[in-house]
Symmetry: C2
Subunit: 397 residues, 2 copies
Amino acid sequence: MPRSNNTILLSPEELSLRLGKVVDLMKNESIDTAVINDNANIFYLTGRVIDGYLLIDSQTSSMQAFVRRPSDISGPTTFSIRKPEDIPAIAAENDISIGDKIGLERDNSSWTTIHRLSKVFEGREICNIDHILMAARSVKTPAEIKLIAASGIRQSEVYRKIPSLYQQGMTDLDFQIEIERQLRMAGCLGQFRIAGDSMELFMANILVGDNADNPSPYDFAMGGHGAHPSLPVGADGSVIKRGQTVMVDANGNFTGYMTDMTRVFALGKIADDALRAHECSRLICHTLAEIARPGVEAKYLYEKAIEIVRGENLEDYFMGHRQHAGFIGHGVGIQINEHPVIAPRSRDILREGNVIALEPKFVIPGTGAVGIENTYVVTADGPMQCLTTAPEEIIAL
Amino acid sequence: MPRSNNTILLSPEELSLRLGKVVDLMKNESIDTAVINDNANIFYLTGRVIDGYLLIDSQTSSMQAFVRRPSDISGPTTFSIRKPEDIPAIAAENDISIGDKIGLERDNSSWTTIHRLSKVFEGREICNIDHILMAARSVKTPAEIKLIAASGIRQSEVYRKIPSLYQQGMTDLDFQIEIERQLRMAGCLGQFRIAGDSMELFMANILVGDNADNPSPYDFAMGGHGAHPSLPVGADGSVIKRGQTVMVDANGNFTGYMTDMTRVFALGKIADDALRAHECSRLICHTLAEIARPGVEAKYLYEKAIEIVRGENLEDYFMGHRQHAGFIGHGVGIQINEHPVIAPRSRDILREGNVIALEPKFVIPGTGAVGIENTYVVTADGPMQCLTTAPEEIIAL
């Protein structure tokens, strides 16, 4: 990684592109000043994580950083603070405008944090800024797409090695540990950023046989019992047996930007219905990749997927069997659950530069989970470009 | 893990102990009803994670669960909901009292979540409940101490193997990956629960040589440059060289409850000052373990540590060199940063059943980080009992 003590690690052109998108959306809602504190948003706007606050002025399209930690960074627009209450005086001394309408990260910051910041900026109108950051971040710049594509290449290389990691008698957890190690050796950062108060996962969701059908409290596409009730999702210690599938959905964060990819492995011959459902998942991905382009409604992609599933009479198994997920795809980037959301009531409309993970999956009782997940970029005139290129067939272990 | 579809995995006696502490603290502040949604608090009160809300009635010392997911759990006090807005009607139908003063998790839930819940319970007085949960959770029950001790045994076993994992020419990251694998093979869940909006770490903080002196944005005891600016903490790819220390502070969560332990390894002979500082850290831990008992102020432990450090003229290196951490210890349990906090302005007073990680560490320029971290239980009449038992000396690689 580059060693720089500059607050902004992005090129001036890249910063300008990202800031421009945020500022345009701020102007639409007449927001004068955005105050950014969330790690994912700070990484988006600086290329690094700091403990502090970014102030964005929509009038001048400028950004200042008020930094608590680390102690060793600086830049032309960087001020050192001990606490957020220091910001107004420093801003006044340095002719930094703080407008009348202030956007705070109400979706991502705790009530206590927002309450405290609202007092710092007392007397001004406070509104939410998170939906604006999520909207800006949903349309990736060419540089961001390069970082996501780089993750896709490395994740795909590791996935190609997965069959060689299997040894007879392994449990799902044994297998997962070897996959984790290969990912880490290939440069995976491990970190798995998720938006939302209560989403949790460690490194991978690996589902063997009927464990795929165990409902989880988390809002992922698939569930699984998990190794412990404190983290009830994914692998549960099941031994991998003949006739069962092993679904691998493992961390693709190699660059601060991630790809999301799922592949299925199997020991011995599996049931015809499972093979058929797996091919149906591939067909859905390929079909949606063809029709997805700027202007298409996200919910249309969902409807198209359901149409294909119904044509195969596989509804009972789609997106889970005992418990069904409510979406078949999601934006991905700095976090695993960005926009657009591919769901029946989604109001998202596809735009060039969206990066979308499609994961039409099935749970077949007695066999396990099947289906693939790929990460795609929405291009100017379609089809979507696939960034996750490991073989899509069910691979024998 | 036990496979049960009961909402409450705790024994009735254990639930009663935990709920009793929460209810007593609620009564002190005349809070009628607590609404609990945070995963760590839900795990504390049920022994599992659910997507939903626990309602605690302080008058009757009773708790009801309103569960969105998973779909397959039930119990005598469990109701299925789709959204929090469903709660009041279900409560009314089932004669579940919702009082006039409601405690919500304002420190741990987003502003948007609290705003939504405040509307669900409109017309009632809303206050914070998080400090009450943190206070209750800071005094562990005997069953919780057993779970923490079990983590300590397994973490200590892995730490004893660490020297055997080293191979010549390894970077800090190579070494970390092998340590991660051993932890996972020993049953480490990987998950590292941290309270607070912006704390992030993956599995371990492993610091080699002068990387220990790189400031980080995160509020941990030590920093490190990290492998990527999206997660700027810990190992940065430094090759482990002769005369440098390798500080290992790795994930101790084996039971949903964690221990926190740090040990130092070294290649070849290291500087006398570093050896002296390491012994100073051990002396601080042993001294504080002797004097810590119920009724002692947390800040007194901090002051005692500083006194010992001054006696050795090591202030410049204590808790970092270029950037200093503001605490030398913290409570640990379901999350890594619980109460009490061992810091100069801490208002915490030790109680029997507190579990405290003490980590008086030094950064010696040219050598690296030294010092130990142990997890201790505060006993009725002292000294504290140590749960992390790997050898404390600097171990040769």
